[in-house]
């Protein structure tokens, strides 16, 4: 397990500097010197690359924890309604025209994530049961989605509509060091929380009742999961919008290389998620298109067929 993590870490260390070379203009030591190369590298590409790693790590780690908690390989961190809640918060900032003020959009997104978490806790937090909790999450996700649509339909002018719609697609274009400073500590804190739930998630492998008999405190575990997912997903949506499928795909790709216990999956999934989003974002940036392909769209294009293949495989296994 440790070897897998080291391997992924090494891949990240190699991929990050390489990713800095790619873009609308290629910057390479052996190529012709580019004007403002230092500024492009230090102010645009480095924070963007690091942010891609942070967002991807959060999504990968959160996906692994979610799948472990729900005991379901099709679970995604978006299921609890925290991502749609955060998106609703960000959309409100755009709707009210406050997004230009520094920190307001991410703050609104984090408030939205916090609201979704509080709602989850109020509806489902009494018993610690997982089924009710999942249903509550789905309800919150659909409520937040509906309110987001409402905001779009009521938006004061076409410009703000397009701003909201574009933002919802998720991207890392023009992100700065500030965004990194917002997302990185929250994501790291969330990942530590999720990592610490590992042994409890392992116990859940045997079902809820067996897990409790192994000393898992269901209610407390639920709180930690909500907190961890909330920090990671809230921070991610706050700076990058909604980026789907990473949390679903990455744990699947990593699982065969582990002993399949959820606890051994969280760290490698975080590293692999960072790698996937970094590579995907670099490809988006380097593609010769008039308008840059949005990262969220690119990953969904990759993720939907993956999801389908996964469903077909599960169907075959069940048959």
């Amino acid at each position: 397990m440790r070897r897998l993590s080291l391997l992924l870490l090494a891949a990240l260390v190699i991929a990050l500097p390489l990713s800095l070379l790619a873009g609308r203009v290629w910057i390479a030591p052996w190529a012709e010197p580019v004007p403002n190369a230092t500024a492009i590298l230090m102010e645009l590409r480095l924070p963007r690359g690091l942010l891609a790693m942070v967002i991807g790590a959060g999504l990968g780690g959160a996906g692994a924890a979610m799948q472990g908690y729900l005991r379901n390989p099709l679970a995604d961190p978006g299921l609890f309604g925290i991502a749609p809640g955060a998106a609703l918060g960000a959309v409100m900032a755009l709707f009210l025209g406050l997004a230009a003020i520094p920190f307001v959009l991410p703050a609104f997104a984090l408030i939205g994530a916090g609201g979704a978490m509080a709602l989850l806790a109020i509806i489902a937090g009494r018993t610690g049961g997982i089924a009710l909790f999942t249903l509550a999450g789905l309800m919150i996700a659909s409520l937040a989605g509906t309110l987001t649509s409402l905001a779009i339909s009521l938006s004061p002018n076409p410009f703000s509509t397009s701003e909201i719609v574009t933002w919802l697609m998720g991207a890392l274009t023009d992100r700065s060091w500030t965004d990194l400073w917002i997302a990185a500590p929250l994501t790291l804190a969330g990942l530590v929380v999720l990592w610490r739930t590992g042994p409890s998630l392992d116990a859940l492998t045997l079902g809820e009742q067996a897990a409790v008999s192994l000393g898992v405190e269901a209610k407390r575990l639920q709180w930690w999961i909500v907190l961890g997912i909330g920090l990671v997903i809230g921070a991610g949506v706050a700076v990058a919008g909604i980026i789907g499928f990473v949390g679903l795909m990455v744990p699947h790709l990593v699982r065969p290389f582990t002993d399949r216990r959820p606890s051994t999956l969280i760290v490698p999934s975080a590293l692999a998620g960072g790698l996937l989003v970094l590579v995907a974002d670099t490809v988006c940036r380097a593609l010769p298109m008039a308008i840059e392909l949005r990262l969220g769209i690119a990953l969904s294009l990759l993720g939907a067929p993956f999801f389908l293949a996964l469903l077909l495989r599960l169907r075959r296994e069940l048959a």
Binding site: R71, N72, P199, D202, A203, L204, T205, L206, G207, Q209, A210, V212, S213, L214, G215, V216, E217, R255, D259, R260, R261, P262
Partner: protein, 260 residues
């Protein structure tokens, strides 16, 4: 001693255990028998501290079971649920090792000693359940009976003082049923308290030191197998005409109109 006094258990508003009082001893294999829906699993879950009692007391020695911290309770009472439901395709050895979870980072235990104890406990549980040859096999690739043994191995790996198992003999073929029953008896002889829900009355008759029969949430018989599972009790509770055949320790239950 693991005991309940005047315990009432409600599930979804329905009373499933009505005022049960029992005291179970270490060193004994106790079977809980009863018809479907009699409240056997609920009683077992209450004894394990997994289901709250609506009223009454559940005690382990001189402590209230619900008040024992979760991890400590898990080290004292090992519980085997009815279904061996494994979410991920882990190996048999990994599954058995999950039984050590309550022992991780126990205050005052050095890490090395703890690792050695884990390894030893896992190895002896694998041996006891004859799982060595299956150690690396994923659980999706073993039979139902092998899965039942692996699940029992997981409980044994936790080295609990009490083993509470909900129908561990179901799904096992005759020889493994016999072997597991003997192994449970061995655990009891080694000083552990073993409480097992059993559907197979002959298995209870032949292996248990004590049988508790419950019907409609009430304890209707409690004692040595010959008394608690007498023909009269079985005919009253299960309403099946029957007769015990064979010698003590190797009895079979004949059922049907013609035996009456």
């Amino acid at each position: 001693m693991l005991s309940v006094r005047d315990v009432v258990v409600k599930r979804a508003g329905r009373t499933v255990v009505e005022g049960a009082s029992l005291a179970l001893e270490r060193g004994e294999l106790t079977a809980i028998c009863g018809p479907n829906g009699a409240g056997k699993s609920s009683l077992l879950a209450v004894l394990a501290g997994l289901l709250p009692a609506a009223s009454g007391e559940v005690m382990l020695d001189d402590r209230q079971v619900p008040a024992i911290p979760a991890r400590e309770k898990a080290r004292l009472i090992g519980f085997l649920p009815q279904q061996a439901d494994v979410a991920w395709d882990i190996s048999v050895e990994t599954l058995v090792a999950l039984g050590r979870l309550p022992w991780r980072s126990v205050p005052g235990r050095p890490a090395r000693a703890s690792r050695d104890a884990d390894r030893h406990a896992i190895a002896s549980a694998m041996t006891a359940m004859e799982l060595e040859a299956l150690a690396l096999r994923p659980v999706s690739q073993i039979s139902g009976g092998e899965k039942a043994r692996a699940a029992m191995g997981r409980v044994l790996a936790g080295e609990p003082e009490w083993i509470l198992a909900d129908e561990p003999l179901a799904n096992l073929d005759l020889s493994h049923q016999q072997a597991l029953a003997a192994s449970l008896k061995g655990q009891a002889d080694a000083g552990r308290g073993v409480v097992v829900v059993m559907h197979d009355l002959a298995a209870a008759m032949n292996h248990a030191g004590r049988v508790i029969v419950i019907d409609k949430g009430r304890v209707v018989a409690d004692g040595a197998p010959e008394q608690a599972l007498s023909r009269e009790v079985i005919e009253t509770v299960w309403q099946v005409p029957c007769q015990w055949l064979g010698e003590a320790g190797a009895r079979a239950l004949a059922m049907g109109q013609s035996v009456a």
